[in-house]
């Protein structure tokens, strides 16, 4: 998970405490939320077995409507250098049968009108069912979910749930509220829904709760974060090489700092990447588990980041932990190195290219802090799920799945174009290069809604930014060779609630040690506290899961 939401979320701090709670839940605690409480074990604390995943999985039947120009390598994101001129129409007739459904989705953007919205009308007509959206504030979505899921009558037919908003004891909610999709999709049953069958198995694995297929996915990328640098500025100043190890990056940062310019934002996340710190647990050769905070890599990452701060290379605002303006600092050239989610790349181009055509940023080629082989950890196979409320009428579930199949239509289809861009001439026009250009109406009406219910596998077709698709896909194809599956990858594990707060002291320490307020001795003390206040029990909990595999 990248830090974008974190930083922006902090900036848009609401006027109210509640929502603030949530956005910090998303942000500051990102690793903990993901590692700590998003994982849900089927059956709760007492039954960490995970169930038999394989029998619930749909078959994988890939389809390629359009051959990508930059094919996927080792699971990297495929890319298209041009928008295909002839789109494929997958559905001859609307798949739905005219029912009306309610759907709740988060939104990080301007709320679109729900009545008289031609985009909604067009998509609803195309899918043949009416989806009535209950769009909710993305930053306060966790609160909304907590309340709605506790009140069964208020649960809509279709609920989108981002992984970072998954509440504790979610297994109980899934069990009580949501339909088991196994009978509809497992094995060859999925053939009825060819676009859903096009979603890779790893992604579906992540949708299995307690041995049952429960969710529809919004697939993610295998690499989520990167260390970006301003190649336009660096090249102009004569820096062309890439750092080969942690020390070289420190040296570079030192050289780049001076006057009113600092080399970097807080690079903690970058330090985690170059040190290959495991997301949560490392399985040792003898089958024992080592927690992330106990590893040498974690320790080294802290020392490295502390060295970066100590040598004065970090912008004072970043020292003050102002992550909200991190992107602004980077894009304005006040800092030249920053970590970001890979999605932040094209967004920065979108913001900057119009006023500064020479703007450019690039991710560093993966390297290890010690100069050896880099170790990257695979990102979540899905970042957002959607669940169908239990319905006594299987026909309704089948209708919703048919709609999901429509929504999963991949890049290169007319369905994809409709869902993502709206109606031609009304919401977008096609320019000389075949690129869809959004109209003003699109800014009002076309907001991400349907895509949060089900989405096809990710591709990169941001052809409007010259050279971007190639740069992105080549970089990721190269980086993908270093990607490893972390322990318990793709498994939904529920930790008992009382362990969830164990990670918090380390998040504080990461900031304290980086800024020189605390020392590595404090880390040792924190690890001891962690062990005695539940860490060992947590280890035993995960060891049981491991043994059950």
């Amino acid at each position: 998970m990248n830090m974008n939401l974190d930083s922006d979320a902090t900036r848009v701090l609401p006027l109210n405490r509640r929502s603030f709670l949530t956005l910090l839940g998303v942000g500051a605690a990102t690793p903990a939320v993901l590692a700590g409480c998003s994982s849900e074990a089927p059956g709760g604390a007492g039954d960490p077995s995970g169930g038999d995943v394989t029998s619930a999985l749909p078959d994988y039947i890939p389809i390629d409507y359009v051959e990508p120009d930059f094919p996927s390598v080792n699971g990297s994101t495929a890319g298209y250098a041009t928008i295909p001129t002839d789109l494929v129409q997958v559905f001859d007739a609307p798949p739905g049968s005219g029912s009306e459904f309610t759907a709740m989705t988060p939104l990080w953007g301007a709320i679109p009108p729900t009545e008289g919205n031609q985009y909604f009308d067009a998509v609803n007509a195309a899918i043949g069912s009416t989806i009535q959206f209950q769009i909710s504030d993305g930053n306060a979505y966790g609160d909304k979910l907590a309340a709605v899921l506790a009140s069964e009558r208020d649960v809509p037919d279709w609920v989108s749930i981002p992984t970072w908003n998954i509440p504790p004891r979610f297994d109980q909610a899934v069990e009580a509220l949501f339909e088991d999709l196994t009978p509809f999709l497992a094995g060859s049953a999925v053939e009825k829904y060819p676009n859903l069958a096009n979603i890779p198995t790893d992604v579906w694995k992540f949708c299995v709760f307690d041995g049952q297929l429960k969710a529809l996915p919004f697939p993610g990328e295998i690499i989520t974060d990167a260390i970006f640098y301003r190649d336009d500025v660096l090249e102009a100043e004569g820096y062309t090489g890439q750092p080969a190890n942690g020390q070289e990056l420190l040296d570079l940062a030192k050289e780049l700092t001076g006057g009113d310019r600092w080399a970097a934002n807080d690079l903690w996340n970058s330090s985690v990447i170059i040190h290959g710190v495991v997301p949560k647990w490392r399985i040792n050769d003898d089958g024992t588990l080592t927690h992330r905070v106990e590893t040498d890599e974690y320790r080294a990452a802290l020392e490295w980041n502390a060295a970066l701060f100590a040598q004065g290379s970090v912008h004072p605002d970043a020292v003050a932990d102002n992550s909200g303006d991190a992107k602004t600092r980077f894009e304005s050239g006040q800092v030249l190195i920053s970590n970001d989610g890979v999605g932040g790349w094209h967004e920065a181009l979108g913001r900057q290219l119009a006023s500064n055509p020479t703007y450019s940023q690039r991710p560093f080629t993966p390297f290890a802090a010690d100069g050896g082989t880099p170790v990257l950890w695979k990102g979540n196979p899905a970042n957002i799920f959607s669940f169908l409320k239990k319905n006594s009428d299987p026909a309704k579930i089948e209708e919703l799945l048919a709609v999901a199949d429509f929504l999963a239509s991949p890049f290169g289809t007319t369905e994809f174009e409709l869902i993502n861009f709206g109606l031609e001439d009304l919401h977008f026009s096609v320019d000389a290069n075949g690129l869809p250009v959004a109209t003003e109406l699109a800014a009002t009406e076309v907001q991400p809604t349907y895509i949060f219910l089900t989405d096809p596998p990710v591709v990169n077709a941001k052809v409007q930014y010259p050279g971007f698709v190639e740069a992105f896909c080549t970089w990721m194809a190269d980086a993908a060779q270093y990607v490893n599956d972390p322990a318990f990858f793709g498994m939904q594990i529920t930790e008992p609630t009382q362990y969830a707060s164990l990670a918090q002291p380390f998040e504080d320490l990461e900031k304290d040690i980086s800024r020189g307020r605390k020392s590595m001795a404090d880390l040792d003390a924190a690890i001891e506290t962690w062990k005695t206040s539940g860490g060992e029990e947590l280890r035993a909990f995960y060891t049981d899961i491991l043994d059950a595999q």
């Binding site: 609401p14 990080w108 953007g109 959004a438």
Partner: protein, 334 residues
């Protein structure tokens, strides 16, 4: 307050008992008296140069401390994304002025509708909250009335013991208030603090005046309506302002209780503009790119901030009117 500043006791005793307004007009307005300086009352001594100088400096610093940041906020809201990038944050020196951020927010009918919703909720809510608070505060303002202390305790408890979000949601849902405007008014309709504040002011009113009214046979409702309220305009205005601001700025209840986006109040809609441009975790290159060269980031956020202040700017003078010195006599016991 029992100091021997004699005149008020005598003064109030001579007031016509019921009609406080009449009592007010019976005295010459001090502001109309001839005076040495245009605004200074006759009895007030000429300020010293040192005192005036110190006052001017302090006030100037205070105003500067507020106005300068306000200025940067407004300038930023009128800037382009490029200008913000160049400044690396809030803009202090305007380069090119554009109202793009405001136009973007106000485009489309949704803000208009949300504004109407907010005005309705604020008007109805403020009226309801202020009314019930005044009634309760007055009902509790007689130091010897039956049961006022237990009731005060009931109020106090609500200040320190909250209810969780989930129980409150379940309550609102069970009352059938989900997706109704009442869900935005009723759950927070009473602030114990405001009731206590009103009561505090009501108790400061000279009992001689109200007692005199009772001699004339006025009931409690009449005493409240004809004596206490007219003498408490300032605090009533303040409490109404507190409630009004609360209703106007509230968005969390709406986020929880209103599913129908057409019923969203303004603050929730404005927030959605603030959230614009947030990158989803791991969404990577994603398929959606709605950006249309629109202004994003700081200018929009600052424009939202400015828009949030405007209604208060409009309303505040009406509240302030009641702060004029010496409108009411004898309101405070000596």
């Amino acid at each position: 307050m029992s100091t021997a500043l004699g005149p008020d006791g005598a003064a109030t005793a001579t007031h016509p008992p019921v009609d406080a307004a009449a009592a007010g007009s019976a005295r010459p307005d001090p502001r109309r008296r001839p005076r040495r300086s245009k605004h200074r009352p006759v009895w007030e001594e000429r300020p010293t140069a040192l005192g005036t100088g110190a006052k001017v400096i302090v006030l100037a610093l205070i105003v500067l401390a507020v106005v300068y940041p306000l200025y940067t906020v407004i300038i930023t809201s009128l800037s382009t994304t490029a200008a913000v990038t160049q400044a690396g944050g809030l803009v202090t020196v305007p380069t090119e002025v554009t109202t793009a951020a405001y136009r973007q927010i106000l485009a489309g009918g949704i803000v208009t509708r949300a504004t109407l919703v907010s005005i309705g909720i604020t008007a109805v809510g403020t009226l309801l909250s202020t009314t019930v608070s005044i009634l309760c505060a007055y009902g509790l303002s007689r130091p010897t009335s039956f049961g006022h202390r237990p009731i005060l305790f009931v109020l106090l408890i609500t200040m320190f013991f909250g209810a969780g979000m989930i129980p409150t949601y379940l309550l609102v849902s069970n009352l059938g208030l989900i997706d109704t405007y009442w869900s935005l008014i009723l759950p927070g309709a009473v602030s114990a603090f405001n009731v206590l504040l009103l009561r505090n002011f009501f108790m400061g009113i000279d009992p001689g005046i109200t007692d005199a009214a009772r001699i004339d046979g006025a009931g409690e409702w009449r005493v409240l309506g004809q004596i206490v309220l007219p003498m408490s305009k300032a605090v009533t205005a303040v409490v109404a302002l507190f409630y009004g601001v609360g209703y106007w700025n509230a968005f969390f209840n709406a986020m929880l209780y209103i599913n129908d986006n057409a019923k969203w109040p303004l603050q929730l809609v404005l927030r959605s503009y603030v959230l614009q441009g947030v990158t989803l975790p791991g969404s990577g290159v994603g398929q959606v790119d709605v950006a249309t060269g629109a202004v994003t980031g700081l200018p929009v956020k600052m424009a939202v901030m400015v828009l949030a202040i405007i209604p208060v700017l409009v309303v505040y003078p009406f509240v302030q009117r009641h702060f004029t010195k010496g409108v009411i006599f004898g309101a405070i016991k000596g």
